[in-house]
């Protein structure tokens, strides 16, 4: 599986990453080799095998009663936000290219 430069750029867009020319080229080679390696899974017939999404079979849905419990204060919850204003998180404009 050889990934093209366009495919790498598309993946980067899906993952919300911005790659420079050199990075994209290097990643195309490395990711292609890793995908080649993982494709050896296809040597195995798994048509009758169910997937194991997690390993504790007795734990399928875990329910609890919906009772309010302790939670972080607004101040604590926001303390790590990179930009704040009066108890809110600041973000740039969602649409349009003008700086806020």
């Amino acid at each position: 599986m050889k990934l093209s430069k366009e495919e790498i750029e598309h993946l980067a867009w899906l993952a919300r990453l911005e790659l420079n020319e050199e990075q994209a080229g290097r990643l195309a080679g490395q990711i292609s080799r890793i995908l080649d390696y993982v494709e050896q899974m296809n040597q195995l017939d798994t048509s009758d095998v169910p997937p194991t999404f997690h390993t504790l079979p007795e734990l399928s849905n875990v329910f609890r009663d919906d009772i309010p419990d302790r939670s972080l204060s607004r101040e604590k919850a926001l303390q790590s936000a990179p930009a704040r204003h009066q108890g809110y998180i600041l973000v740039p404009k969602v649409r349009g290219g003008e700086p806020q």
Partner: protein, 489 residues
């Protein structure tokens, strides 16, 4: 004997009996860190003031005759991927350079409640992605047995700190071998518990169906003691096991007489350094002489484990790491004019190469049209790998073999990411199956430690520790490497 040379259980007992104090133990460790940290670089953050305050509280309680926890006054180090309230937690990433968690991980909180004293946070590969700490965004940690070599990873800072006498014990985390690998490279004991035994609440998420927290210690008794403190159900992690747990210390000395051990044939194939294989076989012979029944067993799908692992791991990572958007916490770019640009720039500036590589692979494996061929296929082969173990455990109490194919390699030696991935070959199957395994030191090759791996069925930690202890007590290996000590006086 110096205080930092004692094991955690010896130190806890000495503090409890009043032979020394938590404050003295903490000062001894802070001095030791001062003396050797320049060569080892195990820590990203050292919390000396907090450690002194916690030690003072333990001593105050003891002097009032109050009940204290089983690790009271014992200085520890935590991998810097476990949240510590009020103490910076970086995951060795620029993304979290200034992140100070507003809460403790459950494992952190339980150790605090046991009376352990926090010396600091240890280095790792960024977001725990790697096997050498070369992927840390901050610095390289060095192997205390040979400082030109890596400590293993990703919990390399934790392993190096424990081996160098810079902490009495540590917690590491595993997704695909990240406790056992550095434990083996640094000559300490490392346990990866059953998936769900230890709460993941407050662990920076990597691959959620694989992640687990575990002890990294000087000896097997310490390992049991620390496991006892952190294991058990937590309402804040719905995947934690809800049943009763055994006393991990109770049967530790019962030996291996009559236990059935399967030697994993596939773990002795091509790629294994024959000298490592020889050390491991000697250890297995020793357990046999102690009365264990030893036979060869096959895990036929284990050659596919890394292919499965390096599909599931980046897939789950790409999904989990989508949370780093430069908004709620973590790095935000200085220059973005709109929201899309803010996401893309913040993420690209904040993440290192290996993290970007895994996010890209995972995004590919989960993307429309490829999901069935990669992620779903991997989860099906995962079933086959798990069945291999189920089959083996219908005949054997535990499976034994090497931890890693080689001893610690040199810093900079492994340039190819795929070659680095292959060093997890005997480790990843265990994480995929969700079962426990322990690495215990079993000798040296060229002066570098070798680990013996003991793997058991789900929730068999007590048995694994008992086997590890049977091996450990019959050998008197040097536990602490000789380090040149910088004289500050």
């Amino acid at each position: 004997m110096k205080l930092w040379e004692l094991t955690a259980h010896q130190l806890a007992a000495a503090i409890c009996r009043g032979e020394t104090s938590a404050a003295e133990a903490t000062e001894a460790y802070l001095e030791r860190i001062q003396a050797v940290e320049g060569q080892i670089e195990a820590y990203l953050t050292i919390t000396a003031d907090l450690a002194r305050e916690q030690a003072r509280q333990v001593d105050a309680r003891l002097s009032r005759g109050e009940q204290v926890g089983p690790l009271a006054g014992v200085p520890m180090a935590l991998k810097d991927i476990l949240c510590t309230e009020g103490v910076r937690t970086t995951a060795a990433s620029r993304m979290l350079e200034n992140f100070v968690p507003p809460y403790d991980a459950t494992a952190t909180a339980r150790l605090r409640a046991s009376g352990a004293v926090l010396l600091g946070k240890t280095n790792l590969d960024e977001f725990a992605m790697g096997s050498s700490v070369e992927n840390s965004a901050y610095k390289q940690t060095y192997n205390p047995w040979d400082t030109s070599r890596v400590p293993g990873g990703s919990s390399g800072g934790s392993a190096a700190a424990v081996a160098a006498g810079e902490a009495a014990f540590s917690l590491g985390t595993e997704t695909g071998g990240s406790i056992r690998h550095p434990a083996s490279f640094c000559g300490i004991v490392g346990l990866k518990p059953t998936y769900g035994l230890v709460s993941r609440y407050g662990l920076v998420h990597f691959a959620s169906s694989l992640d687990q927290i575990g002890p990294m210690t000087r000896d097997v008794r310490d390992c049991a003691l620390v496991l006892q403190a952190i294991a058990g159900h937590d309402p804040l992690d719905s995947t934690t096991y809800q049943g009763q747990l055994p006393d991990y210390l109770a049967g530790l000395e019962e030996g291996v007489e009559g236990l059935r051990l399967g030697v994993a044939r596939e773990y002795f194939g091509e790629g294994l350094d024959p000298r490592v294989g020889e050390a491991v076989r000697r250890a297995i012979g020793d357990l046999e002489r102690q009365g264990a029944v030893v036979e060869e067993v096959s895990l036929p799908h284990s050659p596919y484990a890394l292919a499965v692992y390096y599909t599931i791991n980046p897939s789950e990572a790409s999904s989990n790491l989508a949370r780093y958007d430069g908004i709620g916490y973590g790095h935000r770019t200085a220059e973005a004019t709109d929201l899309e640009e803010l996401y893309r720039r913040s993420r690209s500036e904040g993440f290192g190469d290996e993290v970007i590589r895994r996010i890209m692979i995972g995004t590919y494996a989960l993307s429309s049209g490829y999901y069935d061929a990669y992620y779903l296929k991997a989860q099906k082969v995962r079933t086959l790998i798990k069945r291999d173990f189920d089959q083996a455990f219908s005949q054997y109490d535990a499976i034994i073999g090497p931890v890693t194919p080689t001893v610690a390699f040199r810093v900079g030696e492994m340039e190819d990411p795929l070659a680095m991935y292959l060093s997890d070959i005997y480790l990843a199957p265990v994480n995929l199956a969700g079962i426990p395994a322990v690495s215990v030191p079993c000798g040296f090759v060229d002066g570098l430690p070798v680990g013996l791996q003991i793997i058991g069925p789900a929730l068999s930690e007590a048995r694994l520790l008992r086997i590890a202890r049977a091996y450990e007590r019959s050998h008197d290996y040097v536990r602490l490497p000789q380090l040149e000590v910088k004289d500050n006086g």
